[in-house]
């Protein structure tokens, strides 16, 4: 029991006052104090006692009385106690100001506090405790620098002033200079080892801030040893435990928090932390209760902000975005600067993003970015918002920044890839690949969607192997792998049932009976579909169909799988099955535009014109945005115009006009629709505006050559048709050939027919014939081709036989005859087959051709004999020429021989003469010996004789040779004459032949004038007889039909893009998902 003793004035007695029994009314004590003129320190003691007992009013009453002017006057020389009283009051008001939340009253309190301190200072400028008080006041007001100055004044005077040390430590702590702060706390502790636990708390906090967690923990524990109910220490330890981030630590931390909560249920910090904890454990009800309590008990801005934030988060995670938004907003309002507490901005941004308020969201995230300029998540979100706002450049810029900040953030690469998919697939692919390798390196699971996207990009770029790799990785292990690798083989089925193969799912029921797991998670279906699509693209049709069927089996509503199966069946010409599959798809969704359009195409293939039109109409009615059905209707009208075989020109014009209108409509809707443009080009070409249509086709062709999914052989054909129509045959040929090679593996007999027609018009008969033979080989049952081949050969022969005589060779004539025979063979076969109705030709027509060819052949025989004779003559002539040459040769040889002989003889003579001379010389010598002068004469004579002989012989020879030469000459003359005669003969023959021909023709004309004229007309395309046009019709009208027929192909081709759109859609779905899940990533 503590007492104070108030000395009684002017006596030795004292009044004993038990401190724990102070009267309720402070006036009693005051009266005593005043009456006894008690020393001021007693006043202070009693006031302090009241304060300790929580009797604040009494405390204030005593101190206010104790600092009144009367007291000042009375105790004028007692300075220290007066200062102490004033300081106590100052501290009291500082405290009030500090805890007061209402701004106005807060300021009032601070003003009062300031007044008291100033009064104290007036009593003694240098009293350290006043400065300490002032420092505290300034700290409470947040004026840290001034507080520092105040404490410094004290410490300069007394280095060991504990309160000043603590104050300064606090200042340094607030300034973030934790090391200095720690030093000051330590010093305070050394000076005053008995000081309250709070000092150690400061040390703990400093250590904590400095990252010396163990020492901090020791400090906090020491605090708790000293004061087991110190909330701050408890909370601090709890926070530390929680941050240890282990299940055990967190549990311990929560226990501590609980204890703190039990000790003092109104510590907002503890409440917030508890709420935070329960947020993570998902007990949202508790979160709300705790935070509401915390909000009720505190007026401290940051703490409130934290509480609001907790509350908002709770609603956010529950999906109540409206409420969450409101609380985030409240939280944000409690914050002066984003730097203090940035999370609510982030949350607010997320909620606003969710609610579609992109601009506000953007500004909030930008605030977050100000605080954390390198925060990946924020950068990524900003990137996404910019993309959604249509500012792709900026979006990508942020994404790239995010990647630069953390080049190991797979998610960022993934997001970037998704952003880039539509604009720059190559860059997207790179981003995905990086993300992929990062995830792999980190041992994380790679998302199916991303692998799917990688696969699809590869697919679109035509890199099928890489695409297959990625898609296989995406779908992972499963029964499908066995299908792809052929480990599970479909059982043999009845061949008759195989007609319905692609609707058959028995294989799966059988597998299930064998307990083979057939699980197909929903998130893998898209990837599996794309994989099947890829297999289809690389012609592995069987596994592809199995995968599609698996999808259909597991997810009977997956329309695209039905449609792909239908497309496979259609490609294999199994129209009935294809229709059934499309109907399956329509059962799922009878408004499915793709299915309806496909059905229309199939009906058209089945020659079900009226039905097809209805189907296209239905497709168009479902959705105005889908131009495909409009296009199909346009095509329909075009075929209709071409199909009526020109019976009703009016109808044709209407259909054509309608077609044009529909194509134009398509182009208005989508001004870059290749197919619409192609259709418009066709109509224009049909109307004879070739130049315009050629321009259109050229542009379409250029545009279509970019993607592997756009296969538009039609435009090549159309372009070739236009070249053809304009007479540019060589270009047309080139175009047809390229088209065949590029799109059809040279298998399309129709294009071969176009090609042949071009050769025909260009009068390249052999090329034409070869082309037609190839076409027959490709399409053996197309008898039209045989007929055309026959006509071509006939035409070829005629053209040769009509050639000027001098310009043709016997070989040519012979080949003409051979071709005529072939033509006859072909026509007679056709005519024989016509009886059996193999084909729908007019028998008469064939008969006409046959007859004409036979006639021509007869005529040609004469030609042929003629040519042969001619050739014979040429041969003879050549023979003669050869003989002449031979004779000449012989003569020359003989001459040479003779010359040689002559030479020899001459040599012999010479020798002889030399011998003779020698002999003579000898003789002369001998004579000389006898009589010298006779020598010369004798030699002269000898020489003369030799000469004579020689000359005689030469003359003889010359004569002989000359006579022979003459004989030869006459021979030559004879031959010449003969030749001339034969020439004349030939001329006569020719004249006769010509006469014969006319005669024959006349004869025939009498018999069957009409037919022959027709045949003749057929032969000569320049002659514009009515029958000739009639004859040429089969070629022309057929090719016109074909111009039409390629239209359905254009629509066939269109399926691909349509379906790719589908999977593109799915890609986008994946891409749209990004910010659903990572709402909370940033929060601790």
């Amino acid at each position: 029991m503590a007492y104070v003793y108030i000395p009684v004035h002017n006596s030795q007695e004292e009044v004993r006052v038990a401190l724990d029994q102070l009267p309720r009314d402070a006036t009693d004590i005051l009266d005593i104090l005043k009456a006894e003129q008690a020393p001021l320190d007693l006043w202070l003691t009693i006031a302090r006692e009241y304060f300790k007992q929580g009797k604040v009013d009494q405390f204030r009453q005593i101190l206010e009385e104790g600092s009144s002017p009367e007291i000042d006057e009375y105790y004028a020389d007692v300075r220290y106690e007066r200062i102490a009283i004033l300081n106590a009051l100052g501290a009291y008001y500082s405290y009030l100001g500090k805890i007061e939340t209402k701004q106005r009253e807060k300021e009032e309190h601070f003003i009062l506090a300031t007044q008291y301190y100033n009064k104290a200072s007036r009593i003694d400028m240098h009293e350290p405790s006043t400065w300490v008080g002032k420092g505290q006041l300034l700290l409470a007001k947040g004026e840290v620098e001034q507080a520092f100055a105040a404490f410094k004044i004290v410490l300069d005077g007394d280095w060991d002033n504990v309160p000043a040390l603590l104050g300064q430590a606090c200042v340094e702590f607030n300034r973030g200079r934790y090391l200095d702060s720690l030093e000051l706390y330590k010093r305070a502790l050394r000076v005053h080892p008995e000081c309250p636990a709070a000092v150690r708390l400061g040390i703990g906090l400093c250590r904590y801030k400095l990252g010396q967690l163990e020492k901090a923990r020791q400090a906090f524990q020491r605090v708790l040893q000293l004061d087991s109910e110190n909330i701050e220490a408890l909370v601090a330890l709890a926070v530390m435990d929680m941050h240890a981030n282990e299940a055990f630590g967190i549990r311990k931390g929560i226990e501590k928090m609980h204890r703190a909560f039990e000790i003092y249920p109104y510590s907002a910090m503890a409440l917030n932390y508890l709420a935070n904890h329960f947020f993570f454990t998902g007990q949202h009800f508790l979160v709300e209760q705790l935070t509401e309590t915390a909000l009720a008990v505190t007026n401290h801005g940051p703490t409130k902000s934290h509480s609001y934030y907790n509350l908002a988060r709770s609603y956010h995670s529950k999906g109540d975005y409206e409420k969450a938004g409101l609380y985030y907003m409240a939280s944000v309002k409690e914050i002066n600067k984003p730097h203090e507490f940035v999370f609510p901005y982030y949350g607010l941004g997320q909620v606003q993003l969710k609610l579609g308020d992109l601009r506000s969201s953007l500004s909030n995230f930008e605030k977050v970015l100000e605080v954390y300029p390198d925060n990946c998540e924020t950068l990524k979100v900003l990137g996404h918002i910019y993309v959604q706002l249509g500012q792709y450049e900026k979006g990508q810029e942020f994404m790239r920044k995010a990647i630069k900040v953390d080049p190991r953030d797979a998610q960022a690469f993934l997001d970037l890839g998704e952003l880039l998919i539509s604009s720059d697939p190559t860059a997207a692919l790179d981003a995905f690949k990086t993300a992929h390798s990062l995830l792999k390196k980190g041992g994380q699971e790679v998302p199916v969607d991303m692998l799917n996207n990688i696969g699809v990009i590869h697919f679109e770029r035509g890199e099928f192997e890489l695409a297959e790799q990625s898609l296989k990785e995406a779908v992972g292990e499963g029964v499908w792998i066995s299908f792809i690798e052929g480990k599970i083989k479909p059982k043999a089925i009845d061949a008759a049932e195989s007609v319905h193969l692609y609707r058959d799912v028995r294989i799966f029921t059988e597998l299930e009976e064998d307990n083979v797991p057939l699980e197909l998670p929903w998130n893998k279906v898209t990837a599996l579909f794309n994989l099947a699509r890829l297999l289809e693209q690389i012609h592995k049709t069987e596994p592809a169909s199995l995968l599609y069927r698996l999808i259909v089996y597991k997810y009977p509503d997956y329309v695209d799988a039905y449609l792909r199966l239908a497309a496979i069946a259609k490609a294999q010409n199994n129209i009935q099955l294809s229709i059934e599959l499309v109907n399956d798809a329509l059962k799922v969704n009878n408004k499915c535009v793709n299915a309806l359009s496909m059905l229309g195409d199939l009906e058209l293939k089945n020659d079900d014109w009226v039905k097809a039109k209805e189907t296209f109409r239905a497709a168009e009615a479902t959705d105005d945005k889908d131009s495909y059905s409009t296009l199909s209707l346009g095509n329909w009208n075009y075929f209709a115009a071409m199909r009526n075989e020109r019976k009703y020109p009016k109808l044709e014009a209407t259909h054509l006009e309608k077609a044009k209108e529909l194509y134009t409509k398509v182009l208005v809707q989508h001004n870059s629709n290749l197919y619409g443009a192609n259709g418009a080009g066709v109509v224009l070409a049909e109307k004879g505006q070739f130049d315009i249509s050629r321009d259109i086709f050229t542009q379409v062709q250029e545009a279509a050559s970019g993607s592997i999914f756009i296969q538009m052989p039609d435009v090549w054909i159309n372009l070739a048709h236009v070249y053809f129509a304009q007479g540019n045959f060589s270009l047309a040929v080139k175009m047809y050939q390229n088209c065949l090679r590029k799109f059809y593996y040279n298998t399309d007999s129709h294009i071969h027919l176009y090609l042949a027609r071009t050769h025909y018009e260009a009068e390249q008969w052999q090329e034409c014939k070869k082309t037609l033979l190839r076409a027959i080989h490709l399409s053996p049952s197309n008898y039209v081709l045989r007929f055309d081949a026959g006509v071509t050969m006939q035409k070829y022969s005629t053209s040769i036989l009509q050639k000027e005589k001098a310009k043709r060779t016997a070989d040519e004539v012979r080949s003409a005859v051979a071709e005529l025979k072939n033509a006859i063979q072909i026509f007679s076969q056709l005519s024989a087959a016509a009886n059996l109705h193999f084909h729908g030709f007019d028998e008469k027509k064939i008969a006409t051709h046959l007859e004409y060819c036979k006639h021509l052949l007869d005529a040609a025989r004469i030609h042929c004999e003629d040519a042969q004779r001619e050739e014979e003559q040429i041969r003879q002539r050549q023979e003669l020429a050869r003989q002449v040459a031979l004779a000449e040769d012989a003569r020359r040889k003989a001459e040479e021989q003779r010359k040689r002989q002559l030479e020899k003889r001459k040599l012999d003579d010479e020798l002889k003469r030399v011998e003779q001379q020698e002999e003579h010389f000898k003789r002369v010598k001998e004579q000389w010996k006898r009589n010298g002068p006779k020598r010369r004469e004798r030699s002269d004579i000898d020489e003369d004789g030799g000469y004579n002989e020689k000359r005689r012989r030469g003359g003889k020879r010359r004569k002989a040779s000359k006579s022979r030469y003459e004989v030869e000459e006459t021979g030559n003359d004879l031959v010449d004459d003969q030749e001339y005669l034969e020439d004349e003969d030939a001329n006569v023959n020719y004249r006769e032949f010509a006469a014969n021909e006319t005669q024959e023709q006349d004869g025939v004309t009498e018999e069957n004038a009409q037919d022959l004229l027709a045949a003749a007309g057929l032969e000569d395309s320049d002659v514009d007889e009515p029958s000739s046009t009639a004859k040429r019709r089969p070629n022309w009208s057929e090719s016109d039909d074909d111009v039409g027929e390629q239209q359905p192909e254009s629509s066939l081709v269109r399926e691909n893009p349509a379906e790719r759109h589908e999977s593109d859609g799915e890609l986008k779905e994946n891409a749209e998902r990004p910010y659903g899940d990572d709402d909370m990533d940033e929060e601790e």
Binding site: G486, A496, L501, N746, P780, Y783
Partner: protein, 320 residues
């Protein structure tokens, strides 16, 4: 199993090569490769360096099919003018010229015993059987109309017959038609047995397995290869992989693999165990119209496969 290219002859013919067959070895000479072309000639080549042995003319229009008698002495060739020419392999002397108007002629094949020549009769919807000693027409196997023919094809009254194949025991004959159906005939009774369905586009080539007499392979314009149990009327399996028409099929002598030639310019080797293409040869740059394994036996060792193409070339591969 594996294919390895041995030799290719560019410009082996003056125009597209459309057909090929092996002539069995005789005492006097080794097996020869027979090829027929749009250039209207039939040529004989001596393996392995593909030396041109002889060129024989005598056809008008393109040669669409060649076949060799199992004895290796005579051979037959068919052309677009609908004549079949029978000739002596070693002398090139024409033995007979066959014609059965109005039916045109497509694929030819001698039966394993060599007593009969089967000729696919195109639009006549029949297969003609010729006696190989007298060269008289023995029988015309007519394909009946398909019962309850589907409404889908209005023109399907007649079946255009393109391809023929004898079963290894010679008791069955299969023929493929343009509408995709395959018809099986009983030769002993000269009777139609049943259809095999599954294709809907022209079946250009058929081949029986030499080891499983019921197993029939078919190649079609739908790019698929089907395996049928021709007696049990069941589709035993389907193989896909060609990008375009399958023009020709031949079964390896060991019966474990087949080779196909396609419009997609490739020759593929298929493992029947895996039911998958295990090798793709791309030596041709246009449609591969025929593939043919050299029949086993004889002095020369090692399997050989020949392929011919629209690009005028012939290729020879080692099969092991």
């Amino acid at each position: 199993m594996k294919l390895a290219g041995l030799k290719s002859v560019e410009n082996a013919h003056d125009d597209s090569v459309w057909t090929a067959a092996w002539v069995a070895e005789t005492d006097a000479r080794p097996a020869l490769l027979l090829t027929g072309s749009l250039d209207e000639t039939v040529r004989m080549w001596r393996p392995d360096d593909l030396e041109l042995e002889r060129t024989s003319t005598g056809h008008c229009l393109g040669v669409v099919s060649v076949a060799a008698h199992p004895s290796g002495v005579i051979a037959a060739s068919a052309s677009l003018d609908s004549f079949v020419r029978i000739f002596d392999v070693d002398t090139n002397a024409t033995i007979a010229t066959l014609e059965a108007p109005p039916s045109e002629v497509w694929q030819l094949q001698f039966n394993p015993k060599g007593t009969t020549l089967a000729v696919a009769g195109g639009g006549s919807a029949s297969v003609m059987l010729w006696d190989t000693s007298t060269w008289q027409l023995i029988a015309t196997l007519q394909i009946p109309r398909l019962e309850g023919s589907k409404p889908a094809d209005k023109s399907s009254g007649k079946k255009f017959v393109l391809s023929v194949a004898w079963s290894p025991d010679g008791r069955r004959l299969a023929c493929g038609s343009v509408d995709g159906t395959i018809s099986i005939f009983d030769i002993a009774r000269a009777k139609f047995m049943h259809h095999l369905e599954g294709h809907f586009m022209p079946v250009r080539s058929l081949a029986y397995s030499p080891i499983e007499p019921r197993l029939l392979f078919s190649g079609s314009d739908d790019a698929q290869i089907h395996m049928y149990d021709s007696e049990g009327k069941t589709l035993a399996g389907a193989m896909s992989g060609h990008a375009s028409w399958v023009l020709s099929i031949d079964v390896a002598p060991d019966g474990v693999a087949i080779a196909t030639g396609s419009s997609d310019r490739t020759v593929r080797l298929w493992d029947l165990g895996m039911r998958a293409a295990i090798q793709t040869m791309s030596s041709h740059n246009d449609q591969v119209w025929a593939v043919a394994f050299r029949p086993p036996g004889g002095s020369s060792r090692g399997g050989r496969l020949a392929s011919v193409s629209d690009d005028k070339s012939i290729s020879l591969y080692d099969y092991s």
